[in-house]
Amino acid sequence: MRRRVLVALLAGSALGGAACLRAAEQPAEIHISARKFEYRPNKVTARLGQPVVLVLTSQDRIHGFKMPDFGLRADIVPGQETRISLTPDKAGSFTFFCDVFCGDGHEDMEGTLVVEA
């Protein structure tokens, strides 16, 4: 089935090119901070069909962000913002997790995206 999720990895300043858009058209940003061995917050919420941008940062080392249900993955590098655009096309609870091995506790580093209908 053709996935209708819009996915784009954007460089930290790339949104500047969209500055002419009205504020009301800007997708909501969801900020998530990563560190061994957790995401903060580890539960975030979006609405079905409403575009959001996940803004990911790391406090210590390279972590990963992988959410297979939406075909998303990215590295989270300290000192950089990793931005992932997403328009959820299905409701429910979806797990994201670190896929860059980061130590004893790596397997527990995960969170949940709740998409409300």
């Binding site: 990963g64 297979p68 797990t95 896929d99 091995f101 004893d104």
Partner: protein, 290 residues
């Protein structure tokens, strides 16, 4: 994946849970192999250094498994360890201490031809530096009685990639093989997407499978998931082995991949004896209480 094949495999596995036999070398005529039958033993996921409630007996489990294999009536030709020899630690000195102690314990194996490969617990935090000091190369090949063994490293890159360089090395090695050669791939993580939601994958494993696909007699033996699992990608069979530390849940059977509760009888732990003939026979060797 061929679903009919997979059902057959699962049915076979369910017959005993101990012995698993399948025609895994369909292109290999029985008359050609009678003189070259052999068997070897697979250890996996020993996680030496782990301390926790999932295995209060962790200090002794590996020694018990060594004793079990030493007690086999017919000793294997060789032994392989498919990764996670040690449990991870961020302390580089402690990492080496664990590898040293692990090597001491397995030196008690009666069979001295032992092949190692890393798991992410051994190699991902330092890109295999300590592992290579103790055990050598992380990917290599060897041959035994007409079977070509290929050891792949999908863990030294913490993002679980084989990487283009290793894939090119694999392609070059396979170019030297004939289409009906018997090939056994040994690796730590599943090369296919077993359970992506639990990260039970190799990021670029599909590229390795594509390279192997032209060869008619290929078997992949791996670890990482701490349980038996049997899966087909086309004609290539993939078999996961039990661990020697704690069992993990069946793929997708519960929300989180947390270890199963400890059972003093340790039914979910063990090693595996693998007989290579026209068929490959897997016999699970439980850990016996010492």
């Amino acid at each position: 994946m061929q679903h009919a094949d997979r059902r057959d495999f699962l049915k076979l596995a369910g017959l005993a849970g101990v012995t698993f036999t399948a025609g895994l070398f369909p292109g290999w005529p029985p008359a050609a192999q009678a003189a070259t039958d052999f068997h070897f033993v697979q250890f996996s996921d020993t996680h030496w250094g782990y301390k926790g409630p999932a295995n209060p007996d962790a200090e002794h489990t590996l020694e018990k498994a060594v004793a079990t294999v030493n007690g086999l009536g017919r000793q294997p030709d060789f032994i392989v360890f498919t990764g996670d020899l040690t449990h991870t630690t961020e302390d580089a000195k402690e990492r080496r201490a664990r590898m040293k102690r692990f090597r001491e314990i397995v030196s008690a194996l009666a069979v001295k031809d032992v092949r190692f490969m890393p798991g992410e617990h051994d190699a991902a935090l330092d890109k295999g530096e300590a592992y290579q000091e103790f055990f050598g190369a992380t990917h290599y090949t060897f041959d035994h009685k007409g079977v070509h063994f290929i050891v792949l490293d999908n863990v030294s890159d913490p993002a679980a990639r084989l990487g283009d360089e290793q894939l090119a090395w694999l392609a070059a090695d396979l170019k030297q093989r004939k289409a009906d050669d018997r090939i056994v791939v040994l690796t730590h993580r599943p090369l296919f997407d077993l359970q992506p939601q639990w990260d039970w994958t190799t990021a670029d494993g599909a590229k390795a499978i594509d390279l192997l696909m032209p060869y008619g007699n290929v078997v992949v033996l791996y670890g990482h998931i701490h349980q038996e699992n049997h899966h087909m990608t086309g004609h290539i069979a993939h078999h996961a082995a039990k661990s020697l530390i704690f069992p993990l849940p069946a793929p997708g059977s519960q929300p989180k991949r947390t270890p199963l509760p400890y059972d003093a009888a340790m039914p979910g732990l063990g090693t595996r004896d693998i007989t290579m003939a026209d068929k490959v026979t897997l016999v699970e060797l439980p850990v016996t209480k010492g």
